[in-house]
């Protein structure tokens, strides 16, 4: 017992994972289970002229073959966020069918589903499916897709434009640029990434005819959201007749937020077939069907005065949506990117315009950071470039432009130029701490020495902010969300004083079973072992929105904390009755109520028992000790920090070696430092992956060339170093825990830090910018070019 908030408690869920006893969706085997294999388009754009299923249907073990014809009356996958054109028109939202009947629109588009007795038989039968395609021209580059005459992804979407959108004050920003002493301008592609959670997606559909009830097991970050979309939008089946279970899920990083066709297909087909159907992606399918991330083509400019003060920011981005709108796709380049362009700087004028376009590629949606890494990348590259061109130190130019500290209590929140109001922040404090840890002055001297010896060492900064813990329903509703973004909890105190809590949040690596238990045990003053956290089963948990956008603790944890407050409030009334004392004379601490100034007391367990065996109970009070709570926060949370990367570039090979990495983050109050540090580590690694290694590459025909781990490089152990992680603590002023999100900070910050470091290393050669990923070849070519000119 004792204080648990802030303790590095070892995770209570770990035992099942380290002993091989976890239950991921693909581990589930049900009686009579059949296996599905999805036949996918090998072409980026083609008309399906004919599908002959007869040979496949008669193949050994085959139970059913479904094509687009079979699901033509079933709705497509819905989009959960609406963004309108600047002129007020609704965004273009073409149907995203479960199986395509007419035209395939990206490599991997679903064409048919074969259900067989075994996985191997289903796959064998796929070879016998006779599909005739008429191959059409494709476009994968979003900048080319909007040109006149480009192939159309959807015939009724002119120039492939899904919507255009703007934020900020254009006139004021143009004015700031007109008055500027210096303007920095950069053009780049924030390249397309493929999330690659190590567990491939998996779904099992079950239909129990005797109970008229469906069950869907799925590797999802948000089972209730899937149930809602599946029932109300796609299949039109009653929600109360569907149970969605997300058991242990092997990482998500955003890619498992979205409602995918396979979830609907196995659920729908389970009733047709009358047996459970399991589908599990092979990695090659993950590459072409899991929603991708990023893929922005951007022109960004920053205006400075002669002293390095930022006067204005202008951003124009073409954002690739892929072939169809994934669940949250329209929100990513707009409300999670355009609204983040204030960064940590007191920039007085900002304007951003976004053009979202369809291409013949896999749909693009939220991937760890989702819009915020893109915003941070352009800001941090511009600020760094500004420093270099103005002859300033990159730390100094940041210091000069930081928003001054504010706690959101005594000082109000900071109103940005781009809609958001920051909750609390002390940006310079993270910079100071990071500089101290890295030993900045000494490091600059070492860099100078190294340069004399022909060695290229670089130091790169990233001072970032993010908006997470997404967020007030009224606000996101006004911005186009078709869902609320609250979270729920049920606190069920058992008669023996043990506590089961049910959360609408979902853990797929984040350790909720520990962190949430710490909140319960700490608040109620009971041992950690007396708490069980349940998540992931819609038949057990209250309706909840799930986990993404670093929202679990800030929103779900707060819902839990508010439920615990209700338990204490009712418990106090029961205790007062039993102790024959006035409520105001009681104090609750360490799991017991005491009459102040006496030794009269009653334990939490005794009160719980009384609640369920209410022989002697306050008059008129309901028995039981259980509360359901929905929490809709007042605002996003805004974590921030400073990351510094140190790299060395080998001028002979172009290889970038990471030497050190320092991260000082501020995520508000920390419940479990072990888990928070772990989130930061993983995030940093993913951002470094974008900077140095990862890129989804399509050829001119729309084929994904980087379609396996052999061509798409995610960071391996020997690509990275141990990270030097520290933090400052600026509590969130508007939630009961004081916490901010911690799941995406690392990814948001690290990409820019690493690229800034490499550019810093190569600055003596006159290299000003490099396009990601900074592969040895790309860096080597830049070095050769710089030497030649």
């Amino acid at each position: 017992m004792g204080k648990l908030i802030g303790e590095a408690v070892r995770r209570v869920e770990d035992r099942r994972f380290i002993t091989g006893k976890a239950t991921y969706t693909d581990d589930i085997k049900l009686p009579g289970m059949t296996y599905a294999y999805i036949v996918r388009s090998p072409y980026a754009h083609a008309r399906i002229k004919k599908i002959d299923t007869s040979r496949a249907k008669s193949a050994p073990g085959v139970i059913a073959v479904f094509t687009g014809e079979d699901v033509k009356d079933v709705n497509g996958l819905p989009c959960g966020w609406q963004v309108n054109f600047r002129n007020g028109d609704t965004m273009k939202e073409p149907k995203h069918p479960l199986l395509v009947a007419d035209k395939v629109r990206h490599v991997g588009d679903n064409v048919a589903m074969i259900v067989a007795e075994t996985r191997e038989q289903a796959k064998d039968a796929a070879e016998l499916l006779d599909i005739e395609y008429e191959v059409l021209d494709a476009v994968t580059d979003p900048a080319k897709a909007i040109e006149e005459g480009a192939p159309l992804v959807h015939d009724d979407v002119p120039r492939n434009i899904c919507f255009d959108w703007e934020i900020g004050d254009k006139a004021k920003t143009d004015d700031a640029f007109a008055k500027a002493d210096h303007v920095v301008s950069l053009e780049f592609r924030n390249q397309r990434l493929i999330p690659n959670a190590i567990e491939p997606r998996s779904a099992i559909g079950v239909y129990d005819a005797a109970r008229d009830k469906y069950t869907l097991y799925t590797s999802s970050q948000n089972p209730h959201l899937i149930r809602l979309l599946l029932c109300a939008f796609v299949l039109g089946i009653p929600e109360h007749k569907v149970r969605v279970v997300s058991p242990d899920v092997g990482g998500g990083f955003g890619s498992k937020i979205f409602h995918y066709a396979e979830e609907a297909l196995v659920t729908w087909a389970a009733k047709q077939v009358g047996r459970p159907i399991k589908w599990t992606a092979e990695r090659s399918e993950s590459f072409v069907t899991d929603a991708h991330g990023r893929d922005h083509v951007t022109k960004a400019e920053m205006a400075f005065d002669k002293n390095g003060k930022i006067l204005g920011l202008r951003v124009s981005t073409i954002a690739n949506m892929g072939a169809y709108l994934s669940t949250f796709a329209p929100a990513i380049p707009t409300y999670l990117h355009g609204t983040l362009l204030q960064g940590v700087y007191d920039t007085p004028a900002i304007y951003c315009e976004i053009t979202a376009v369809f291409t013949h590629t896999t749909p693009v949606d939220a991937y760890r950071g989702a819009g915020r890494p893109e915003a941070t990348y352009l800001l941090e590259r511009l600020v760094d470039t500004g420093a270099r061109e103005l002859g300033m130190d990159p730390a100094e130019i940041r210091r000069k432009n930081f928003i001054p500290p504010f706690d959101g209590v005594k000082q109000p929140g900071y109103q940005t130029q781009v809609a958001l109001q920051y909750d609390s922040g002390n940006y310079e404090a993270t910079l100071n701490k990071a500089l101290e840890i890295i030993g900045y002055d000494k490091l600059r001297k070492e860099q100078e020495e190294a340069r004399k010896q022909g060695r290229y060492i670089g130091i790169g900064f990233s001072t970032y902010i993010e908006a997470c813990g997404i967020a007030p329903s009224a606000v996101v509703g006004a911005l186009g969300a078709r869902a609320g973004l609250y979270e729920s909890s049920i606190v069920r105190v058992q008669p023996t004083g043990k506590v089961t809590v049910y959360t609408g949040s979902h853990a797929h690596g984040q350790g909720h079973e520990t962190t949430f238990a710490q909140i319960v045990a700490d608040t109620l003053g009971i041992p950690l072992e007396d708490v069980e956290v349940v998540h992931g089963d819609t038949d057990a948990i209250p309706f909840g929105m799930g986990t993404y956008g670093s929202r679990s603790l800030a929103v779900g944890g707060s819902a839990l904390r508010k439920g615990l407050d209700k338990v204490i409030e009712k418990g106090t009334k029961i205790a007062a009755h039993l102790l024959e004392a006035a409520e105001e004379d009681l104090e609750f601490a360490n799991g017991e109520w005491k009459v102040k100034g006496t030794d009269k007391k009653i334990t939490f367990g005794e009160v719980a028992l009384a609640a369920y065996v209410p022989h002697n109970f306050p008059e008129g009070m309901e028995p039981g000790l259980e509360f359901s709570t929905f929490y809709d926060p007042a605002n996003f949370t805004f974590p921030f920090g400073t990351h510094i990367a140190v790299v060395e570039v080998d001028p002979e090979t172009g290889k970038v070696t990471l030497k050190r990495y320092v991260a000082v983050d501020d995520v508000g109050t920390v419940i479990n430092p072990l888990i928070v540090d772990g989130q930061v580590h993983g995030g940093i690694a993913q951002g470094i992956g974008q900077a140095l290694l990862e890129e989804a590459v399509y050829d001119e025909n729309g084929e994904l060339l980087s379609s396996s781990f052999l061509e798409y490089a995610i960071p391996r152990a020997d690509d990275l170093v141990s990270f030097e992680v520290d933090r400052t603590v600026t509590p969130c002023p508007h939630n009961p825990l004081g916490v901010k999100g911690a799941g995406e900070t690392g990814t948001i910050a690290s990409t820019a830090a690493v690229v800034n470091a490499v550019v810093d290393a190569l600055a003596p050669l006159g290299i000003k910018d490099l396009q990601m990923p900074l592969t040895p070849r790309r860096v080597w070519e830049a070095i050769q070019q710089a030497k030649a000119s």
Partner: protein, 156 residues
């Protein structure tokens, strides 16, 4: 056509008839129900399926079940003895070496072989030994610490 195989899995003798094309990992998962060994890719890259075969860490997605005929296999389920965690498992727990847990069994088995061959690995040696096992959650930072913890404990 099915082929009879006989092998030892986690100390128990197993005899089955299997299709020649059945992958060893699917034999473990689907036939024996040992679902602690995972499938994360189809190119032998990710290492989620790593097990020990006659003392060597192997990727069980890259072997056929029939190739394991006569072999001695250890999977993650075979490490803990009498409810007591193996020091490597303990290391992963103590040092928060896992998040989603999907790569963890393979990571533990790869670390097992490393520590058999090199009881005192440097950080660089640990990173090199685990480069065939992908983790998307931890950035490997705490995995390195987990292996260091285990090395220290095993050497005691």
């Amino acid at each position: 056509m099915e082929i009879p195989i006989k092998l030892t899995v986690n100390g128990e003798v197993v005899e089955r008839r299997v299709e020649p094309r059945l992958l060893l990992v699917n034999f473990l998962r689907d036939v024996l129900g040992l679902t602690g060994t995972h499938v994360g890719c189809d190119t032998s890259s990710c290492g989620a399926c790593t097990i020990l075969m006659d003392g060597k860490a192997v990727k069980s997605c890259t072997l056929l079940a029939v190739q394991a005929d006569g072999a001695e296999l250890v999977t993650v389920e075979g490490l803990a003895k009498n409810g007591e965690l193996h020091p490597i498992q303990e290391g992963f727990w103590q040092e928060h070496g896992l998040q989603c847990g999907f790569c963890t069994p393979g990571m533990i088995m790869a670390a097992y072989q490393l520590l058999e061959e090199n009881p005192n690995p440097s950080e660089e040696e640990i990173r090199h030994a685990l480069e065939g096992n992908y983790c998307r959650c931890t950035g490997y930072h705490n995995i390195v610490k987990s292996v260091q913890y285990a090395a220290k404990k095993l050497n005691r």
